[in-house]
Amino acid sequence: MSDSALPAPQAEASARRAFAPDWGMRILGILLIAYLFYAASQLDLGLGRFITGLGEGGRFLARMVPPNFERWELLLEGLLESIQIAVLATVVGIILSLPLGLLAARNLAPWWVSGPVRAFIAVCRSLHYVIVAIIFVKAIGFGAMAGVAALVVASIGFAAKLFAEAVEEISMKPVEAVRATGASAMAVLIYAVLPQVASRFVGFSLYQLDSNLRNSTLVGIVGAGGIGGTLFAAFKRFDYDFVSAILLAIIALILLAEVISGRIRAAMR
C-alpha cells in the first residue's frame, strides 16, 4: 500500500516534462570542451601540425607497403623468443601467484598476512611492465631473462589479484566441514578450497598466457628480448617495409593465440 503512494508524484513530474533537458550533462560537456582547448594548447597541438602530419602519414604508409618478408629468419627468431618469454613468464608467474593469491584472500588468511600481500600485489600491478623491464635489464642484463622477469611481475599483479578474488568468493561450508574433521591447513586447502576455484584458476591462467604473449612482443623495445627489439631496430633504421612485415606477423600471432584460447575456453565449459 505504501509503495503505491510513492511513484505518483514522480509520474506527475515526468508527465509535465517528457524530454527535460539534462543541464548537468550540458555543463559537463561545456567544461570538457573548455578543457580540451586548454590541454591542446598546452601540448602544442594545432591544426597546422595535424595537416603536415597527414602528409607525413601518407608518405610513411607508402613506404610500408609492400611488406618486406625477406629477412623472415630474423622475424621467426624474434617471434619464437617472444613465445618462449610468454610461456616461461606465465608458468613462473602462475606458480608464484597461487600461494600469493591464497595469502591475499581475506577469508582464509589473517589480516596481518593478507594486508601486506595485497599491497605487494597492488605495487606489481601499478608499475607498467615496460618500466619493470627497464629495471630488470639493469639487474639481469640485456636479453630474454629480463623480459621473463618483468612479465612474471606483471603476471603476479593480475593473476594473484584474480586468484584472491576467486578465493574470497568461495562457499565457506566445505572449509568448515573439512576443518571440523581436524584436518590440517594443507588438507583444508586441497580438499575444500582448491576444488571450488580450480576451473576458474585454469581460465585465469589461460587469460594470463594470452596477455603475456601480447606484452612479450613489446618488452624488446627496452632490450628485454623478443620481437620488440627487432621492431624497434627496424624503426630506428627507417626500414618501414620490414616494420610492416613485423607488425603483420605480431598481429597474426596475437589473433591466432586469441582463437586458440577461445577454443580451449569453449571446450572447458
Binding site: Q42, Q84, L88, H128, A139, A144, M145, L231
Partner: protein, 275 residues
C-alpha cells in the same frame, strides 16, 4: 530373473569402483599437462640464458637499489612535475579523441543500429586492428608521422582506445531494450531524436563505466609512451636512465606510482557515485 541376479549382487553397487573422470576427460587432462610441460621445457632449453648475468643479478639488484636511495626529491619540482601534468593531459585528450572516433565505429558495429552486415564486419575489422596493435607500437608509428612529442602520444592513446571502447560500447548497444526505440519511431521521431532519447539513456551507465576504466588504463600507458619519444614523463625517465641518474629514476618511478594509485582511487570513487 530377479531372483537369480540378486543372490550375489546385493552389495554390487557398493563394490563398484568410482572414478572421478571419464577416460576422455583424463586423456584431455594428460594432454594438457603434457603440452604445458613440453612448452616449458622447450622454452627453458632454447631461451638465451647467460649464466654470468644470472649469477650476479642479486648483486646488481642490490647495487641498483643502493644507487636509487635516497630519491632525488629536489628533481621533482624542476622537471618531473611538468612532465607528469603533460602525461595526464596526454591520457585525457587521448581518451576523449579515442571516444570521438570509437562512437561512430561502435554505432556501425552494433547489429541493431546499423542493419548492413558488410558495414558491421568492416567496423569490427577496424576495432580488432586497433586492439591488436599495442599502444607503444602505435606511439612508434605516430612518432614517425608527427615527429617526437606529445602529439604522437595523444594519437597513440586515442588509436589504442578505439578498439577497446568501440567493442564494449557496441556490446552495450546490442544488449539494450528495443522497446523505447520502437516507441519513439512509432511516434515519428527522426533518427537523431531516437539516438538521443531512446539509445543514449540506456547505454549511459555503460558509457561512463567504460570511459573511467579506459582513462585509468590510459594514465598507466601514457607514462611509458615517452620511452619511444611520444612525450610525457617517459621522456624524463628515459633521459634519467640514459644518464644513469638512478636517484632521479627513483623519484620518477615514485611519482608514476603515486599518480597511478591516485587515478585508481579517483576512478573507484567516481564509479561508486555514478553507477
Amino acid at each position: 530373473m530377479s531372483a537369480t541376479t540378486t543372490t550375489g549382487d546385493t552389495l554390487a553397487p557398493l563394490r563398484r569402483e568410482w572414478i572421478r573422470h571419464t577416460p576422455a576427460e583424463r586423456l584431455t587432462r594428460w594432454v594438457m599437462t603434457l603440452t604445458i610441460v613440453a612448452a616449458t621445457v622447450w622454452a627453458v632449453r632454447t631461451i638465451d640464458i647467460i649464466p654470468e648475468f644470472l649469477i650476479d643479478a642479486p648483486e646488481q639488484m642490490a647495487d641498483l637499489l643502493l644507487r636509487m636511495w635516497p630519491p632525488d626529491l629536489a628533481y621533482y619540482p624542476t622537471t618531473v612535475h611538468g612532465a607528469l601534468i603533460e602525461t595526464l593531459h596526454i591520457a585525457t585528450l587521448g581518451t576523449v579523441f579515442g571516444f570521438l572516433m570509437a562512437i561512430p565505429l561502435a554505432l556501425l558495429a552494433a547489429r541493431n543500429i546499423c542493419r548492413i552486415p558488410a558495414l558491421n564486419a568492416l567496423a569490427q575489422v577496424g576495432l580488432v586492428a586497433s586492439r591488436s596493435v599495442n599502444s607503444l607500437v602505435w606511439a612508434l608509428i605516430f612518432v614517425a608521422v608527427f615527429g617526437p612529442g606529445a602529439a604522437a602520444g595523444v594519437f597513440a592513446i586515442a588509436f589504442r582506445s578505439i578498439g577497446f571502447v568501440g567493442k564494449l560500447l557496441a556490446e552495450a548497444l546490442e544488449e539494450m531494450n528495443p522497446g523505447p526505440r520502437e516507441a519513439l519511431r512509432a511516434a515519428g521521431a527522426p533518427w537523431g531524436a531516437e539516438m538521443l532519447k531512446a539509445v543514449w539513456p540506456q547505454i549511459r551507465p555503460a558509457f561512463w563505466g567504460v570511459a573511467l576504466f579506459r582513462w585509468d588504463i590510459n594514465v598507466r600507458e601514457s607514462a611509458v609512451l615517452g620511452l619511444v619519444g611520444a612525450g610525457g614523463i617517459g621522456v624524463v625517465l628515459e633521459d634519467a636512465i640514459n644518464f644513469f641518474q638512478w636517484d632521479q629514476v627513483a623519484t620518477i618511478l615514485l611519482a608514476i606510482l603515486a599518480v597511478v594509485l591516485v587515478a585508481e582511487i579517483v576512478v573507484t570513487r567516481v564509479r561508486a557515485r555514478l553507477l
